[in-house]
Symmetry: C2
């Protein structure tokens, strides 16, 4: 029998314990051994929980129990779980975590510390979708050309509603909070940080690139307006909070931001709270993985898959997908060297000469316009919505600064990257 201790018995932790009991028959048949959740750690023993395992508020009870083979870390945070997981690994206990923040900051140290001990984290990226499994084990023949992910269900729910129902950002945020899809402080989700943590993990498996959240471009969905939605609908785009990992020469782009994607693409069809990850390999072409990115049972499904894997074969694949260093030796691309197409929204005074100034500012930076719509806003102002051909991020940022400085716009310009 394999004994499991669970540190953090909230929604996911309770699901892990309950599924190990509910589905014991099939899990035992698949693993070849009984897997028993024996002890859970909570901070408040008095809180009522819908789970039938022994509980303690002392983490050391799990760490010091020599009969516990696998520690499941579901407490959240970064430094505290790092210390705990480290101790567990040093005691030779296998570790399974769903903690993306921990991995966003400490995955390479943890790989080092784990050594031959299993350290798994399927649930940390895209919840119930076995994407770590696919990328780390299923696509090993390929140089990965790109990964595009919709990995935050809160943002995807909000953007889907905005696109399909014309609801504005503030209204849908409030509705999402009432439904429990968004937190009281929604910044971690809507600001793109949650998705960025997941992206960094996938970026390591695909490219062996060590980066931290502060190294990469992260933008949230807070500035998406009904005009942007109109533009998207007009030109058959969806707007998604996209995580992008892409190899260009010997550099890797890692970025998180809202993006316009053609509706014809499979990933554009991932709606509502669902997650989707599209991976392009140089040999296999595009494969896509779709499913629930959150929820107690879906996340627990991924945690238990890791436990079964450990039960079957102990340490499995190399933690971050590489048995030895990636000799391609890829470097993170600086943010302002990114090249893509851009959509730009400008609020302008509705009078002669304005467009000429804007066109000049763009032209001076060699930015050429692909599509443009002007929409009257009121008797004095109009919205100018335009998209560009492929341009350099640095040039776009400078051109928009220039446009702002010339005083032709009445609001700060908004830019959304286009991925097609």
């Amino acid at each position: 029998m394999l004994k499991v201790g669970i540190i953090g018995v909230g929604t996911v932790g309770a699901s892990v314990a309950n599924i190990l009991k509910d589905n014991k028959d099939i899990i035992t048949a698949r693993a070849g051994i009984e897997i028993e959740p024996v002890l859970g750690v909570v901070s408040n023993l008095n809180k009522k929980r819908d789970v039938s395992i022994k509980l303690t508020d002392d983490i050391d009870e799990v760490l010091n129990d020599e009969s516990i083979d696998i520690v499941v870390e579901l407490m959240g945070g970064v430094e505290k779980p790092y210390e705990i997981v480290k101790k567990a690994l040093q005691k030779g206990k296998a570790v399974v975590t769903a903690n993306k923040a921990l991995l966003a900051y400490h995955r390479y140290e943890l790989q080092e510390i784990a050594g031959d001990t299993a350290f798994e984290y399927e649930a940390a990226v895209a919840g119930g979708i076995p994407i770590i499994n696919a990328l780390r084990d299923g696509l090993t023949a390929n140089h990965i050309e790109s990964i595009r992910g919709i990995m935050n269900g809160t943002c995807n729910y909000m953007l889907t509603k905005m696109i399909n129902e014309g609801v504005d950002y503030d209204t849908i945020l409030q509705e999402s909070q009432e439904l429990g899809y968004a937190e009281a402080d929604p910044t971690f989700d809507v600001g793109g940080f949650d998705a960025a943590h997941k992206l960094l993990i996938l970026g390591s498996i695909a490219y062996d690139v060590d980066a931290k959240p502060e190294d990469i471009l992260i933008e949230g969905i807070q500035n998406i307006s009904p005009e942007d939605i109109d533009f998207a609908n007009e030109f058959n785009y969806s707007i998604k909070l996209l995580t992008i990992a892409k190899k260009i020469g010997n550099q890797v782009e890692l970025r998180v931001h809202p993006a316009l994607i053609p509706n014809s693409e499979m990933i554009a069809k991932v709606d509502g709270v669902m997650n989707g990850v599209s991976v392009i390999g140089d040999k296999v072409g595009e494969t896509m993985y779709y499913g629930p990115g959150a929820g107690g049972d879906a996340t627990a499904s991924a945690v238990i898959a890791n436990i079964v894997d450990i039960a079957r074969r102990g340490k499995g694949s190399p933690m971050l997908g590489f048995e030895s260093d990636n000799t391609e030796n890829l470097q993170l691309m600086p943010k302002d060297e990114i090249q893509t197409k851009y959509y730009i929204r400008l609020k302008v005074a509705d009078k002669a000469g304005i467009l000429a100034k804007i066109a000049k500012a763009l032209g001076d930076k060699n930015i050429s316009i692909e599509k443009m719509i002007q929409k009257p806003l009121n008797k004095d102002q109009a919205h100018l919505l335009l998209s560009t051909h492929t341009s350099l991020e640095k040039d776009i940022v400078e051109a928009l600064d220039q446009i702002e400085q010339t005083g032709v716009v009445t609001c700060k310009p908004v830019m959304i990257r286009i991925e097609d």
Copy 2:
């Protein structure tokens, strides 16, 4: 260094050898060891091939070469590769195959023979999509409720063209043959047999059910007509050749047939030559896997993923996903006990009393009609297109027989199952 022998150096075999060389850098970094294709077996040594490995026409050269660690079987067929693979396993060589027919007939014997030696087959189902990996390793926490797959690119290409462009079956078949998407004798694809072989493999991993192609319901797409396409378009359905594995109580349905699926479902969006597999687990909910189901490089990507897996850890997961028997002890459901909704197309004489006879035949079997369209065909005949509520397969078959016998139809009735 790990040495690989390839039996069958056609399109896929050549891709395996070439990718192992082209992508040697990343594959070595991921596997932790060099993987070298050392010998390929072909039946005709004189044929020119775009591959740079040593070739032989003697299979025993691979089997008897003690330095070869892994045998890749890509020769096709059933009994001959079975004997060869058996010999390779008995000599302690790991085996990787893309041969779905071999597995459709001999997977349980091969599991027995392999024992602790690795026997892998990711490429046998849905080409480049790592679906074996997902189902066998990624979803182990779940009782699988259903699997619905689009796993034959030829059929999906043809049906997509029929739906989107109104092309008829014979025209699109000829076009597919000219494009190389369909064989000169297309029966294996359009008749559903190829998809059935893949379904049987997934059925074993999900349910531990041992069945052979002749045990299950297999229908092809040959009878799909423009009227069916019209009905589908009218009611917002797609028509797909669907492989279905579904648990109902302690029985398992395994069936392959064209099906009407609501366009809103993610799997209905899998178009053209692409494959998609939707899996519903009792805990994770729906996950879907999408990608290329055929092609030399895509299939080779899956073969090499297995080779890397073997390089990393020898024998990995249990071959068919169960370390011990599934104690649920599920049985294959007899074909005529299947229950679903049905679409029925009848060509009838356009005169009074006909509909009453048809309604009676259906009513006598307790089949109730959900939707109906009558379309004039010429001055004497009309098409009656209708869908039913959930009914028993046996009742539908008998009702259609009854309708045919009463002489109210001028052609054999056509029935397509509806999956929603």
